[in-house]
């Protein structure tokens, strides 16, 4: 019974991790930009959703979509106005730029939202399935995370803009010969990364307490998921997210919650040495 409970907890957490990492993975894979801003965008999404719900009485689901859209615009603008200028430079340059943006956003949020933990409390109750306890809000969070992930997958595989994103990732100059404006696709991709971060942040705020200083925790998780699952693919993020969720759940049970994070990083180190391309390898957005 304990094992089933661990499994259920791990999967519910893992789906959130997958959704958390996917935008980070997409931006890294397509733009070769390590987006240090990703964690803060998650926090921003969470706080905006909370504020809309708490202060203005907006339904959290509606707030989620509004926040996701707003973050898409923010992400598009950041890439178009700032990152595109240095996107071809060594990865350290774009990393420094996004790190600087992260500091700005983080400090802005500390001032504006303060560091008080907030949570969108839905009070949906708990399902008791023969001794396995499933909090409904976490279950809903998992479903939402999987839906968002699935939606992104469909967009990447089936839409015109998705094909263009994959094309730019695979071969930039051939993509230009198709008439694809690379700077526009870069901005769209960064926008989608921010959108996914904002939406995941909204989901997190419905499931766990959100604080402003979670930004680097989220960023760390995104890193681990990318390395476990392999970079730049939806199924890689899914695999990586679920594996990380399970590892944390199991380690938390047997070693104590304080070691859950350590177990995740330890797994990352082992994989970096043993399987540098991750469990799914790099094969594009299939």
């Amino acid at each position: 019974m304990l094992y089933v409970q661990m499994l259920v907890n791990g999967i519910m957490l893992g789906a959130l991790y997958a959704c958390l990492a996917i935008g980070f993975s997409l931006v890294w894979g397509v733009l070769n930009v390590i987006n240090m801003l990703h964690g803060s965008l998650l926090v921003l999404g969470g706080y905006l959703t909370y504020t809309a719900w708490h202060d203005y009485g907006v339904h959290p689901l509606i707030a989620l979509f509004a926040v996701a859209f707003a973050l898409f615009l923010l992400g598009y603008a950041i890439q178009r106005i700032l990152i595109n200028r240095v996107v071809d430079m060594p990865v350290l340059v774009t990393m420094t730029l996004t790190f600087a943006l992260d500091l700005i956003l983080y400090n802005f949020m500390i001032v504006y939202f303060t560091a008080t933990p907030v949570r969108v409390t839905l009070n949906l109750g708990v399902i008791d399935a023969g001794g396995i306890f499933v909090p409904v809000d976490r279950l809903a969070g998992m479903v939402l995370a999987l839906l968002l992930t699935g939606l992104l997958y469909v967009v990447l595989r089936r839409s015109r803009i998705g094909r263009a994103i994959v094309a730019v990732r695979m071969d930039r100059s051939a993509a230009m010969l198709m008439g694809i404006r690379v700077e526009h696709i870069y901005a769209i991709t960064f926008g989608i990364g921010a959108l996914m971060a904002g939406a995941t942040g909204a989901v997190f705020a419905m499931v766990y307490p959100m604080t402003t200083d979670l930004d680097f925790t989220f960023l760390g998780k995104a890193f681990i998921v990318c390395i476990i699952g392999g970079l730049g693919s939806v199924q890689g993020a899914l695999v990586g997210g679920l594996v990380l969720g399970l590892v944390e759940s199991i380690a938390g049970q047997f070693l104590g919650p304080q070691y859950a994070l350590t177990a995740g990083f330890a797994l990352m180190l082992v994989l970096l040495v043993a399987m540098p391309t991750g469990l799914t390898g790099v094969k594009g957005f299939e």
Binding site: R160, M170, S173, A174, M176, L177, G179, I180, G284
Partner: protein
């Protein structure tokens, strides 16, 4: 004499400090098949890249249908009707043949017509229809070249430029591709082939340009060029 479809005048271009093209003059007439031949490093690929906007033009004129294209970005040049099938095919890995072809039509929004053109390229290259759901980079070399040419046609260009059509392909495959190009040409599409294999190029094209070290050394009817002693010695090994 009617105004040519493409008129290139003293075109200079290169990569950074390195100049590759030193005043190229060529002209392509609407609906014809022309070829550019020359040895490795003569500037053939750079010329195509300059024409399609991948390489910046430093000076010279590039008139397409009377409109100056020099300095325009690649997407606007394609939108005006010049498609470029790059050397080495450059199909998108991890994407199906069909998705690769649809990317060729990226700038178009006329869905019905796009599907009509998809059927059209499938009728010219039936093997692509058979393999439309397969990863494009798992096709054989010849089939990949068909896919790349078809992808170029999908933009509905008025001039299709093909870099190294025959490179690495079996002679029978080259022949089949040539037949397909002649068929495509019949519906009015002008084709510019760039080739190291001079024989193949001369068989397909009516007119040819010989490029050496970034300038056009000779030009004219390909039957005439094939008889030229210098060309016979340097390129045909006769």
């Amino acid at each position: 004499m009617p105004e040519p479809l493409l008129k290139v005048e003293s075109l200079h271009a290169g990569y950074g400090e390195v100049r590759v093209l030193w005043g190229v003059d060529i002209d392509i007439e609407a609906g014809e098949i022309a070829c550019i031949v020359g040895s490795n490093g003569a500037g053939k690929t750079t010329l195509l890249r300059a024409l399609s906007g991948l390489v910046a033009v430093s000076s010279g004129k590039l008139l397409f249908d009377g409109v100056e294209l020099a300095g325009l970005p690649a997407d606007q040049i394609l939108a005006r009707g010049i498609a470029h099938v790059p050397e080495g095919r450059r199909l998108f890995r991890g994407m199906s043949v069909r998705d690769n072809l649809l990317l060729g039509a990226y700038l178009r929004s006329d869905k019905v017509e796009i599907h009509r053109d998809l059927d059209y390229v499938f009728s010219i290259f039936p093997i692509l229809k058979e393999r439309q759901h397969q990863d494009a980079t798992t096709l054989s070399g010849g089939e990949q070249q068909m896919c790349a040419v078809a992808r170029g046609i999908m933009s509905r260009p008025r001039l299709l430029m093909i870099d190294e059509l025959s490179l690495g392909l079996a002679p029978r495959m080259v022949e089949r591709l040539g037949e397909a190009l002649i068929e495509v040409n019949k519906i009015g599409l002008a084709i510019l082939i760039v080739e190291q294999d001079v024989m193949t190029a001369f068989e397909l094209a009516r007119r040819g340009f010989v490029i050496e070290t970034g300038v056009v050394r000779m030009r004219g009817n390909t039957q005439m060029l094939a008889k030229d002693p210098m060309i016979r010695q340097a390129y045909l090994g006769l």
